[in-house]
Symmetry: D2
Subunit: 447 residues, 4 copies
């Protein structure tokens, strides 16, 4: 070790740092920085009314519920009158192809003014050896982050060379949690007693709304006078968020109609199901599909494909696990969100679900055969029908993967977890070998 002179001379320096004219600086610097800026903004002349409501008239703007060439054109005209669009915003968003296919988007969006084009890169072949998915896949990823596709491609290459990624859906079921509010704990208890007794009636009401949904679990959760009925639905090949809302509405209506202890109020969703939020509930019980994926990478593949070595990756893995714990993640992982956002967008899934899907646990361990790597992700929400999966380019992306028909949503969930595993492998290798920054600098240089 080099000589370490933590010497006395510096002590005076410290003392100088700490005080200025007797003042101790106990407010953090980033607060001061912010305040300096706020003062500049707020105390500029004419800024006295900043942040106060303003009742001046506003230019009304009328939207359009369904989409067509005419409706899009009309909206741009209205925006034009407001002086809003940039130079050629209309041409870039409402291009000829989009106008030609505009009606295809009705039912997926309101007030449509065009399409945004996200570049799609392909990763593969990724060999998946799953309970539902079995084959070598090429996966379309929509992203604007340089190095992302390259990183996943590297992980996929390593995993495929190692014989592929073993996957399985472990649990399945989209949660909805209608909430019922009573006068008292006593009434809440009587309602639960009744609801459990009548569970078949409630189930029948829910399932009458859907050809594909099935209610497989109903658990009452009570907080004094409030009852949440935590409902878990199978949703077939759809991600199923709308399906379970409609089914839960029917279930709740049936409960309220027949129950001898009617609630004062009830809601189709008590904000308890974890829909589009990272929650400890979702992390524990799963929402959508819980999938585990693993592969064991021989030392040689770690060296040649990932340009790292097993010990170095395990060393970083320990630190990454520590960082995850200290920062308070749900689970412990590096960047599931990258794969999830890119694959969800490309294939017409609901990108907002990245918020709930991006939780889980990545593990790495030494095995005789090399480096064992796994991800277990409790909240994968994907479908091969419904949502945006039927839109032209999204369907084209799904076709590239080649999954449809019975079991395809579960298979897509397994492929999704396998892809996330590739990303974890690649980033851990890059961090371990010190390549992470360089890769990002290099691949973004063209911009």
């Amino acid at each position: 070790m080099r000589d370490c002179t933590l010497a006395g001379t510096r002590r005076t320096l410290f003392q100088r740092i700490q005080t200025i004219g007797g003042r101790v600086l106990i407010v953090p610097n980033h607060v001061l920085e912010m305040l300096v800026r706020v003062r500049e903004l707020y105390f500029r002349k004419g800024h006295e009314t900043r942040m106060l409501p303003d009742d001046a008239a506003y230019a009304p703007f009328r939207g359009a519920q369904s989409a067509s060439r005419a409706s899009i054109t009309a909206l741009w005209e209205a925006l034009g009158r407001l002086g809003k669009p940039g130079r050629n915003s209309a041409a870039l968003l409402a291009d000829a192809d989009t106008l030609d296919s505009a009606t295809r988007y009705s039912g997926n969006i309101e007030n449509m003014i065009g399409t945004v084009k996200l570049p799609v890169g392909v990763v593969g072949p990724l060999r998946v050896r799953g309970l539902h998915a079995d084959g070598d896949f090429h996966l379309p990823l929509a992203t604007t982050e340089a190095a992302l596709v390259a990183s996943y491609a590297r992980g996929a290459q390593a995993a495929t060379r190692a014989g592929g990624i073993s996957t399985a859906v472990l649990y399945e079921g989209v949660l909805r949690s209608p909430a019922f509010v009573f006068d008292s704990l006593l009434d809440a208890g009587r309602f639960v007693d009744w609801a459990v007794e009548q569970v078949e009636t409630l189930r029948a009401a829910a399932e009458a709304t859907t050809a594909h949904g099935r209610l497989v679990s109903l658990e009452p959760v009570i907080d004094n006078n409030v009852v949440f009925l935590l409902c878990r639905f199978l949703t077939g090949e759809a991600a199923g968020q709308n399906m379970v809302t409609i089914a839960a509405e029917a279930l709740g209506k049936a409960a309220v109609e027949h129950c001898p202890v009617p609630p004062r109020r009830w809601y189709v969703e008590g904000n308890f199901s974890g829909d589009k939020k990272a929650t400890s509930l979702g992390t524990l019980t799963g929402r959508g599909r819980k999938v585990s994926a693993s592969v064991t990478l021989p030392e040689e593949i770690v060296r040649r494909v990932l340009r790292s070595d097993i010990d170095a990756m395990l060393d970083y893995g320990r630190i990454a696990g520590l960082g995850a714990l200290m920062s308070g993640q749900f689970g412990a992982q590096a960047h599931y969100a990258n794969a999830l956002a890119a694959l969800y967008i490309a294939t017409g899934q609901d990108a907002a679900c990245v918020a709930e899907s991006a939780v889980g646990i990545t593990r790495m361990e030494r095995r005789d055969a090399g480096l064992f790597c796994s991800v277990t992700m409790p909240n994968i929400l994907v479908g091969t029908v419904g949502g945006g999966t039927g839109l032209p380019s999204q369907r084209a992306a799904l076709d590239l993967i080649g999954l449809d028909g019975p079991g395809s949503a579960a298979a897509l969930a397994e492929v999704t977890a396998a892809l996330c595993l590739c990303g974890e492998i690649s980033i851990v290798a890059a961090m371990a070998a010190g390549h992470f920054t360089a890769a990002h600098r290099k691949l973004a240089r063209g911009r």
Copy 2:
């Protein structure tokens, strides 16, 4: 209240439910459901090797680092030889416009095979009365979820009629957390002592890599022999994720080079900063920009625009807050992720950041003037330069908002929070009035 016969006859039914031939069913039904499916999949003939690695050769596939008409065409040819593409996938992803502008995407993606087109709807005018943003905005939202744009538009109308949304950036700074591993707690302490003494040197090294980034806070966090240096950077008008990585790399290198107590290993990111993950750290300290937004809605606007009433909204707000607590969110909110994903995608932000941005606190309270509503969101990550903001249609979407130049990223962050507030207002009103399910059913009907 209707008569509530929780009578004795049912007790026998319960007993029958609980046992079958003396067996108590103590395993949850959804586990049984899954096992039945697994057995069907796993024990079908020919499925014995499912989930085992397979060393069969795979068809190699060579990617392309930069994008051009030629590279895209070549990749589709390669995919075609693999028999991968669906009927007209190539035509839909690699359309003429995309091929014409292919080189524009170099530096944002690798292995590019085309673009996916997401429909963009517009919400506005949304009046924002912010510290940075001030005006009536029309916001482009890219989504495939029916009812989403309509719901935000309704919230925006209510807020604008009420005089607009008051907003302010509260804190600012993107976190990076290089990690340094030592032999002992003692060495870790000596390193920290040195690093704090030399903080100006470290700051200079970091800031030398960037024209716009500034290191405003450095806090050592120790777990025995491991030191994380939690660095907070201002990143100008960029979201800044790459900028802070490069700056942290330089800071770490400077530390390792000069420190008399060199670490055994170090990493540019110890998975502690919360990058692309919902974490309690990010929720507490903020990452990116922490923004608060609020508006007070008069009773009449609640009735006419939102078709609900204040008490009903407060009643639901209490249940939604309870559900948030019970499910273990970071903060308590309903669906920030919807606005974030839609706006991030439309304007070329990093959609993976939805995972970290979708946390915060929504509050509603009765005031003399009506219903006070606020959101406080600690992790908004947006920029008006860098990332995907320069791509053709994304730039067009940004131009529609009309924010650029100094202060525009902070203004965009304020607009983002204001938009999220509109969504919270609208969904709470819909839940309170019982319209939520109907709206989704109606607007998705066209599919």
Copy 3:
């Protein structure tokens, strides 16, 4: 509002604060404070070997497994030879009564050297109108914190005057989670399939170890190659932590012995059950007993007994709820831990369980009849037999409450929750009225 001169002159002051000789102070002050102290400690002469291991011989010390007058005396002699005891430590810890009753403590402690005496205060009458507990209770609280007993007594008075606290056990069951480690996800799945099929065998093995325990739920939770069997036991009138360990050991052994897919390793507890830790699992599923308790306080009682008013309490309740959310509690409450520690210690419960019990949700709402207040606490771990409940003074404290026989543990759990509710009511009133600090100052003044 008084005039608020956020004037320009101060801006220069700010700038002076921020820098000293060009240095920006980006390290937080409390870090600097700590480093100054560390330097003083570490760089004092003779302190060079601080924090390094020291292989010098140590004086051996032989403990005593069971307790008796003789063993206690012998241990004090040994400590005396080491020069350890203070002036009259032996006399105060090993007093005559303790020596007389020493053997009573065998089986509850090892290496016994005496007893520590905690003052016990009484709170009551507290009227509890529960599913299991019904009556007016006087509760013994062991604490050394001034104002604690007085605060709970005030809450109890308010609640009792309002007709008493309504309570119910909602769920019941102590969790244990034996863990089984396999080679692969595939083997883990095969084990789960087998275990679910053989669940009756496993249950029988577990229940054979106990006269009072019953296994009421078994849920497999998988992370790739690792299976946790989450077991929920009813434990009769005991808190039951040892009971469930022994039962889970038998269950695990039966599984390992008979399973055709034997695990590589297994453990009686995979650190998943939340034993003696606050966890999101325990908060969600309950561990021990989940109890809800509520009361509605008329305005007059709020005024006369609590010296506050309903609006003021609701106002503070909102802020306390916000603080809970922002600080990241499990649930949202003010100080359950005070009641729990005091009652657990007085009645021979395991005080370490305060760590897991002190989570849950406190709610307050305006009702026609006054202020509705409730607590819902998912993890109350109490028994009326076993643990320390049979020790002399602990039994005396339990006798004062007057609960024993069948259903007494559930009743004690309900009383515990009711007591916690009293504390929440009292502290919210004190905070709302601004009395909190004064009460603490006054009641601790005698020290």
Copy 4:
């Protein structure tokens, strides 16, 4: 591997399990179990009014603020008139020694009726090589859990033989978070601006209330119109909870008095500081003292003293870490609460603080020299003066440890962390070797 017949015959069994007469059992069994019991309790004759308020008169009971022989006797007489006490409760709680020393407890408790006696076992010698603590310690633990003292003693022996445990206080400071409520975000911002400018005035007001407390950090945290001033105090040799309350009250009063933007309401504690609650805030920033402790155990000590081996301990450590992650702890540890409760009770600390102290991170890694083990605990709240530390037997216990004078609280915090580390080592060894259950069964057998 033994043959694994997951055969077809069982499938029919499964189907039988799942349904009874066409009913699918989708409600979890433990809910059904509870409901059966509730029905028995609730529908018994005469139980119709269970859980309803009861306005019957109650027997009033008058407490006593300070404690004396007379006050204790009077309270027992009052209880006797109520028919409350068990056979000889008074004799056991209000024994002769307690009555003799009753006045010593005034200022620590109200309504005192006696003392509860907890058995104290001793663990040691535990060699601590700390920044503040340096020596071989014998530690008094008050517990009624069999095997606890023996387990810690074993860990202490292993650590001491290995040269002792290296420890350091990393951060220090008890948090308080007065909350200020304004009309608007704008006013909140103006208040923060003023408070930061006047921070020296606020600090002076706070520090004027205390001879030992120092305010070392003040950070404003805003949620729209609500401002929390997160204050971090050094508290000298006291745990300091009352000290910081009084100081924060003075700070808040000074702010409200002088601020040109007076708040509508303010509270001395906004329930944000994490006082007596496990929180993510406390886990991240530390509350009280953050201490790290570590030791490296040679293989031979692991074998001889712990009767396990390093690989087995690491194997279990990985599973325990996984269980911690999956169950959602703050950090990851096994049972800090056991040591904390036992040491806090014995030495007159506030046992309720176990709720906040029992969080942190335990790590184990293989090193050349053996098994590296560490704990890092951010929230240790101990003092050597104040609270219950001056009570007779508690002082005697503290004297046994031998820490007093300047730096003794920090030293005690380091000893506490070292003790927790011993417990982690011992339980991991016991779990790894499969001895855990047997040890508990054996040592509790005498009861």
